[in-house]
């Protein structure tokens, strides 16, 4: 009896779900993991958390369709002499009806530089006056170069020219009274979070689903068409695939060619290239006895058959990488790839036989010139594709260079700990850029110590640093191109392998999606077509 009852309930619910989907402006998307927090200035804020904040908070600027657009700010001025931004805050309201003021934005900045918060992305805002000193505990928070003279005006004073300021600096508001009332719990549940964006958070079943509902108090609510966005948490490909097929899920990102082929042949779905600022690469430890030799590194880099690698791993859904950035990343719509060829490709043309180069390197090192006596240790973090990746490198380096490759698999935390400590020989990983082209270059600066390749170059540092501060887009691109050539070809500090281009799959009747890399539009302009 009970079972019959349960079955009936299921049926009713299914019908209700189907009925609801046809009629309303509601979509269901997914994230791989539960947001760690919705507190934008927490140390552990992750991609999922940022994703939710695009919808539930209101930054001063958003990146929409590849360009910065005023959002939380009504207008702004920039004084070049004093390096000062002055923003006029828009009339916008928190979901409880309180007005969003300049003080809310100010408070957010103050929290970021407060050492006790240990905000992780702090170097993004080191361009603001005194930010670095305050974060190091040498100055008081009140001395930060951000002020709010009245509730409509926010003034930010920089200490150096920062062309990418509007893209890089997180400009989200946080309401002091609310945050302080909630303490550490701020941003960890529905009741402990306050929205002021196009949507408000109304439900959060941890590790399962978040529910966002249109925020009527949002300043641009008239142009927000969606009534509801459900964010499901799932990291199982098969489950997501079947959820797409049975109508539970409306949007999916995948790199699996089999799934893509299926959706591309189905008129009910739209598939779009989704460029991500992510590079998969091989990291050489420049302190290693073998890998300190440039020719060895170059030979290893050239012996990677990137075309075969992407075909085997991703059926060429991901393009092979011979440089640091893909064709989608550049400045003001001009890609780095438009002005410079990929450096590893250029290098490959001058080296017909990587094996000969490798032997040359061995000779320079005074080692036995027989590659078959060389065994390299290949470190990788565990994941779904780990084993295939190892097999490919074993095959590629084994066949082309004739060396032996021994795998060392560990999960991410210990893999990365080892790498940072220089306790590895060759490693592979993927790294995502944030918001601006400069990010990927900054990784390899000598003093940033981000990427433990231990092959650094002063020339590279100078080029990148001056490019970061240059206002002229053409000059910036040229300098980045030169720097890229030094890092990828001349020194071969790392070997780029592939760029990440996922496919976004969504139901054909869903429109207004912003596919651009670095987009922070969220679901503000998305709608369901009848």
């Amino acid at each position: 009896m009970k079972k019959v009852f349960a079955a009936l309930i299921c049926l009713v619910m299914l019908m209700a779900a189907v009925g609801a989907m046809a009629a309303t402006q509601e979509i269901t998307v997914f994230r791989q993991n539960e947001p760690t927090t919705l507190d934008r200035v927490a140390a552990t804020i992750d991609e999922a958390g940022k994703f939710i904040l695009w919808d539930t908070s209101e930054p001063l600027f958003r990146i929409i369709n590849g360009a910065t657009e005023l959002s939380g700010a009504e207008s702004y001025t920039y004084d070049e002499d004093t390096m000062t931004y002055t923003f006029v805050i828009r009339d916008n309201y928190w979901e409880d009806g309180v007005k969003v003021t300049a003080q809310d934005y100010l408070y957010s900045f103050q929290s970021m530089v407060d050492p006790s918060n240990a905000y992780g992305y702090i170097s993004d805002i080191y361009c603001i006056e005194n930010a670095e000193a305050i974060y190091a505990g040498q100055m008081d928070v009140a001395e930060l170069g951000v002020t709010a003279p009245d509730e409509k005006t926010l003034v930010i004073k920089l200490n150096e020219v920062t062309p990418a300021f509007l893209e890089v600096v997180p400009l989200y508001p946080q309401r002091k009274d609310f945050v302080e009332a909630k303490g550490d719990a701020y941003g960890n549940d529905v009741d402990n979070f306050l929205s002021c964006g196009p949507f408000k958070l109304t439900g959060w079943d941890h590790n399962s689903m978040l529910t966002l509902v249109k925020n009527d108090k949002y300043w641009d609510a008239d142009n927000v068409k969606l009534e509801k966005v459900n964010v499901l948490i799932s990291n199982d490909n098969n489950a997501r695939y079947s959820a797409m097929l049975n109508g539970t899920l409306d949007y999916w990102e995948t790199n699996d060619p089999d799934y893509i082929a299926h959706f591309e042949s189905d008129a009910g779905f739209t598939c779009v290239d989704l460029y991500t600022p992510t590079l998969t690469f091989v990291l050489f430890n420049g302190q290693d006895e073998l890998l300190k030799n440039t020719k060895i590194r170059q030979a290893l880099s050239l012996a990677i058959n990137r075309e075969f690698f992407v075909e085997a791993m991703y059926k060429s859904v991901y393009p092979p990488a011979y440089g640091l950035t893909s064709s989608a990343i550049g400045i003001n719509g001009v890609a780095l790839r438009d002005v410079a060829p990929e450096p590893v490709k250029v290098l490959a043309e001058s080296v017909p036989d990587p094996r000969a180069l490798f032997i040359e390197g061995l000779n320079e090192l005074g080692m036995d010139p027989d590659p078959s006596k060389v065994t390299v240790k290949f470190s990788i973090s565990s994941g779904a594709t780990t084993d295939d990746t190892i097999a490919l490198y074993q095959a590629m380096w084994g066949e082309i260079l004739g060396i032996n490759v021994e795998a060392d698999v560990s999960e991410w935390a210990s893999f990365w700990t080892d790498c940072k400590a220089g306790d590895f020989q060759i490693g592979t990983l993927a790294w995502s850029g944030e918001v601006d082209i400069s990010f990927l270059f900054n990784l390899f600066l000598t003093d940033s110590a981000q990427m433990p390749c231990f092959t650094y170059s002063e020339e590279f540092d100078e080029l990148v640093k001056s490019a970061n501060k240059s206002i002229d887009a053409q000059e910036r691109l040229d300098k980045y191109a030169q720097a890229e050539k030094i890092m990828m070809a001349d020194l071969a500090a790392i070997a780029p392998v592939c760029y990440r281009v996922n496919k976004a799959v969504l139901r054909s009747n869903i429109k207004g999606w912003d596919y651009n890399v670095f987009s922070t539009a969220g679901h503000r302009y998305v709608y369901v077509e009848d």
Partner: protein, 304 residues
């Protein structure tokens, strides 16, 4: 006919023959083997096991492919050329499945053997000595088996700094011996207090003889049966670890690694999961059935 004395010779009274049993004498093991042979299911399971072991040893030379060799024939369905098809990187699945079998079986058999030996020794000592030693030893068992499994496995694989068979084996064994120790201890305790051992002791039989004549044969069957049941559970555990991302790494592979890789592509290439899964299931099944048969055969109570 007269019966004269000359017709008879005194051969004396052969005391040694007094207890002679007319039927051919069988040892415990011979008898067990005889009974096992009569159990058709167990024999069938044994044949399958031998077949799987044989294929695991010689699989890649039978099909003519190396399990690490890639080709451009990717994701091929089973055919005459590739009996089990090929995987994402164009490697022959038949060769891979049986190369995986080598590792999986090795982990299963070695793991079960190590823990059984250690657990048996530990359990018997605990039961024999008894008293405080027993209490302390059993508390240790209790504590060790209460340590969360994953922590131990991750830690060990990090400490040993490789993702090879050795560290997985060690991690599984460190927690796995407790069950056997408990089992053997229980069995020995029961035996020590059983009527016939008490009788033997009363009759003045030496401790050593009690151990060799009564304890070992009677616990042996329990231990061996336990061993056969433990093997699949180690194969299972290895598969679970692979699924969590803590399995062994290339060029080696295992059924667990193959099945969890196959799970990712299940919707499009179901055979990539089917064959390793079938092997796991078949092996588990065979060991279980064989273990059942062995238990019946070795149980002295069922001896006829």
């Amino acid at each position: 006919m007269e019966y004269s004395e000359e017709l008879f010779t005194i051969i004396g009274c052969d005391e040694a023959q007094g207890e002679k049993i007319g039927r051919p004498q069988t040892t415990y093991w011979k008898d067990a083997w005889r009974r096992l042979r009569q159990n058709k299911v167990a024999i069938f399971a044994m044949i399958i096991l031998i077949l799987i072991i044989f294929l695991s040893l010689f699989g890649s030379s039978i099909c003519g492919y190396d399990h690490t060799k890639m080709s451009m024939d990717m994701n091929q369905t089973p055919s005459l050329k590739h009996w089990f098809g090929t995987d994402k990187l164009g490697r022959d699945l038949f060769a891979r499945v049986f190369a995986g079998g080598r590792i999986s079986l090795m982990i299963g058999i070695l793991g079960a053997l190590i823990t059984t030996v250690f657990g048996s020794v530990y359990g018997s000592i605990s039961a024999f000595v008894g008293g405080t030693v027993d209490a302390v030893m059993m508390r240790i068992v209790e504590i060790v088996s209460s340590i969360p499994y994953l922590i131990v496995v991750i830690m060990l694989s990090l400490m040993l700094n490789d993702s090879g068979v050795g560290s997985i084996l060690l991690a599984l064994c460190i927690v796995g011996w407790c069950q056997t120790a408990r089992l053997v201890r229980g069995q020995v305790l029961q035996l020590v207090n059983s009527d016939y051992v008490i009788a033997a002791r009363t009759l003045g039989v030496s401790n050593w003889k009690i151990i060799t004549r009564h304890m070992i044969p009677n616990t042996m069957s329990v231990i061996i049966v336990n061993l056969t049941f433990r093997i699949p559970s180690y194969i299972f555990s290895e598969a679970f670890l692979s699924f969590v991302g803590l399995g062994i790494s290339s060029p080696n592979t295992s059924w667990g690694m193959l099945a969890s890789a196959g799970k990712e592509t299940m919707l499009f290439y179901p055979y990539q999961m089917f064959f390793p899964a079938l092997m796991i299931a078949l092996t588990m099944l065979s060991f279980t059935l064989f273990g059942d048969g062995l238990r019946d055969a070795l149980d002295p109570k069922l001896r006829r």
